[in-house]
């Protein structure tokens, strides 16, 4: 019994000393500046996921990503019966939804969906144009406002299945980097990074799944690349698909 007490006492005495002085964590920096067809594209505000294990350990996830159907932004809105001016308004600044930016006065007048919502808002909000304008999206149908996002979210849940990402992170618009921090790594450990949802660049879609090794106390770096025709990139699988054409009309691009 006294020995037992002594062990307990020693445990309490030594406990604070046993606290880790430096966490066994590492970091990962994914650069979203990618050379595609000779031009550097900036993949800004794109979400990347970090999975435990390398490409081999995440093979079933990869298989789901490979076979996933890509519904482009234009196809989604065409199917949702959006007007051509609305689709062009999205295209003009490469927006995925009307949450992206505030329509100007002239845009409200020239895009039928905006005009209808504004007129409805004027009736509902006691003829106050500022509210009808600022709350424009509340008078638009949900499928045109957040439908594309919800569809992508559903797809990401399907693709993930039982795979639970350790973290997710988004690229910013200045450095175009996606940073993962506090990755628990007692020793150098393999991880898979992927955007899982296809990113639209030009007329193609891109999904990256890359294997990286993260070491404690260090920041691993990953530069996304697109392989030249017939070639591969070490430790990366890049799934490139042609975007489906949905008969959306042409828009002025500036």
């Amino acid at each position: 019994m006294p020995r037992c007490l002594a062990v307990t006492f020693l445990t309490f005495l030594l406990a604070p000393m046993a606290l880790p002085q430096a966490a066994s964590t590492g970091a990962l920096e994914v650069s979203g500046r990618v050379k595609i067809d000779g031009k550097v594209e900036k993949l800004t505000r794109k979400r990347f996921y970090l999975f435990t294990g390398g490409l081999k350990e995440n093979s079933s996830l990869l298989e789901r990503i490979r076979t996933a159907e890509v519904v482009s932004r234009d196809c989604y809105y065409k199917r949702a019966k959006a007007s051509q001016p609305f689709i062009c308004w999205l295209q003009a600044a490469d927006c995925e939804s009307p949450y992206c930016r505030t329509p100007s006065e002239s845009e409200i007048q020239s895009v039928p969906e905006f005009k209808a919502a504004f007129t409805k808002g004027m009736t509902q909000f006691r003829s106050k144009p500022a509210i009808a304008r600022d709350w424009l999206l509340t008078n638009m149908s949900a499928n045109l406002v957040n439908g594309f996002y919800l569809q992508k979210r559903t797809l990401s849940e399907t693709l993930l299945g039982n795979a639970k990402p350790l973290q997710s992170s988004m690229t910013d618009t200045i450095t175009v980097k996606s940073i993962f921090i506090d990755i628990p790594v007692p020793v150098a450990t393999k991880f898979t990074v992927s955007n899982i949802l296809a990113m639209e660049v030009g007329k193609k879609s891109y999904v990256w799944a890359c294997e990286v090794s993260v070491e404690p106390g260090k920041t691993a770096k990953l530069n996304l690349q697109v392989p030249e025709a017939g070639k591969t990139i070490k430790n990366c699988e890049v799934i490139v698909k042609d975007l489906p054409q949905c008969g959306t009309g042409a828009c002025e691009q500036k």
Binding site: Q21, A22, A23, T25, A27, K39, E41, K42, L43, T44, R45, R47, Q84, P85, C88, W89, A92, A93, D94, C95, E96, S97, Y99, C100, R101, S104, E105, S106, E107, S110, V111, F125, R126, D134, W135, L137, T138, M140, S141, A142, V145, N146, Y149, S169, M170, D172, T173, I174, T175, I179, I181, E200, P216, T219, G249, A250, C251, E252, Q253, K254
Partner: protein
């Protein structure tokens, strides 16, 4: 026969009493002294929108935008609290909303009563909102010669479209808010804080929404949670008083300095992109990594950490880190996050 008559009389008498007095909860009068609580067992069963009208009829004069700008009407309370309404000349129940309780006291407190404890916390998924306002940056400057169905660059359009971003909710503060040091719980300082106060400017800070104004622009209707789905954002919690004090590890960070103002918020606020509930975020949403690995601040931060370690090793007066921190924070042990 007499018994039967008595029974019928008793039945009708009790029915009349219920009709007149209502199904009053005997304990409700006692609870009045404590004020209204959303957390009572009976109130928790009621749907928020059955009492709160959205918008209330006074929104134009009170808020300027459709909002819940007033207390629920008497009809919301009277079914259960009829007896409380008629107890004495100055019924306690009236004091919940009226400045002068009593039958003639029509004036009401401004809604909500800010001096009272708050019963709800806000759930705001930053990750969902950041996914939704995500966009590509327009890459090409080449004019494509196609048929032009719509022109989006008319005279009143700005040259650069204004994209929605964090700033739609978080604006630079115009007045210096209440602020204080943020310290990790359970960690003891190494020394007393050195003297010398640092005074930040208003522009160091960003606002956070404290009304429905910024939420309703999207969530008024159609987009869930809509205005009548109060529980979509408001979760009952232990009553608390909002201190309105901004706690910062690094009080010296100036959002408006020339080398910060040109950055994307997410360049530094790395953790926020994956946060589904701000209340559950334990660490700073700006990790030290974003500053300590930069060429601007990295050398000074490493130098300060070196000075701290040296002072401890040489048993000299503990060096306090004041490049980023005020002495109230800089006197604490260097956290593991700074040692990677």
């Amino acid at each position: 026969m007499k018994l039967r008559v008595l029974f019928i009389f008793a039945f009708f008498a009790s029915a009349a009493a219920v009709m007149f007095l209502g199904p009053s909860d005997p304990a409700s009068a006692q609870r009045r002294d404590k004020g209204f609580s959303h957390a009572s067992a009976s109130h928790k069963k009621i749907d928020c929108s059955s009492c709160h009208k959205v918008p209330t009829s006074n929104w134009v004069s009170t808020r300027g935008y459709p909002d819940v700008a007033d207390f629920p009407g008497h009809a919301s309370c009277i079914n259960c609290h009829r007896r409380d309404f008629f107890s004495g000349n100055r019924p306690a129940i009236c004091a919940g909303c009226h400045t002068n309780p009593g039958p003639r006291g029509a004036a009401r407190f401004p809604f909500p009563v800010r001096s009272r404890s708050q019963e709800f916390s806000i759930v705001f998924p930053h990750d969902v909102h950041q996914d939704l306002i995500a966009r590509n940056v327009k890459q090409t400057e080449t004019v494509v010669a196609h048929f032009v169905p719509t022109n989006f660059r008319s005279a009143d359009d700005p040259k650069t479209p204004e994209f929605n971003n964090c700033a739609i909710c978080h604006k630079t503060t115009e007045k210096l808010p209440k602020y204080g040091p943020r310290v990790s719980a359970g960690v003891k300082p190494l020394v007393e804080a050195a003297t010398g106060a640092f005074l930040p400017a208003a522009g160091f800070f960003k606002d956070s929404p404290n009304s429905h104004a910024s939420c309703f622009t999207c969530h008024y209707q159609n987009q869930k949670p809509a205005r009548t789905d109060c529980a979509g954002c408001h979760k009952l919690t232990t009553p608390y008083f909002d201190s309105n004090t901004i706690s910062r590890y690094s009080i010296k960070f100036d959002h408006l300095s020339k080398n910060h103002v040109n950055k994307d918020c997410m360049t530094c606020h790395v953790r926020i992109a994956q946060n589904s509930d701000i209340a559950k975020m334990k660490d700073a949403d700006v990790p030290i990594l974003t500053c300590s690995t930069s060429s601007c601040h990295g050398p000074v931060i490493r130098e300060e950490i070196g000075k701290r370690e040296a002072s401890l090793e040489e048993k000299k007066p503990t060096f306090q880190c004041i490049y980023c921190h005020s002495p109230e924070v800089g006197r604490f042990p260097i956290p593991p996050s700074h040692q990677n």
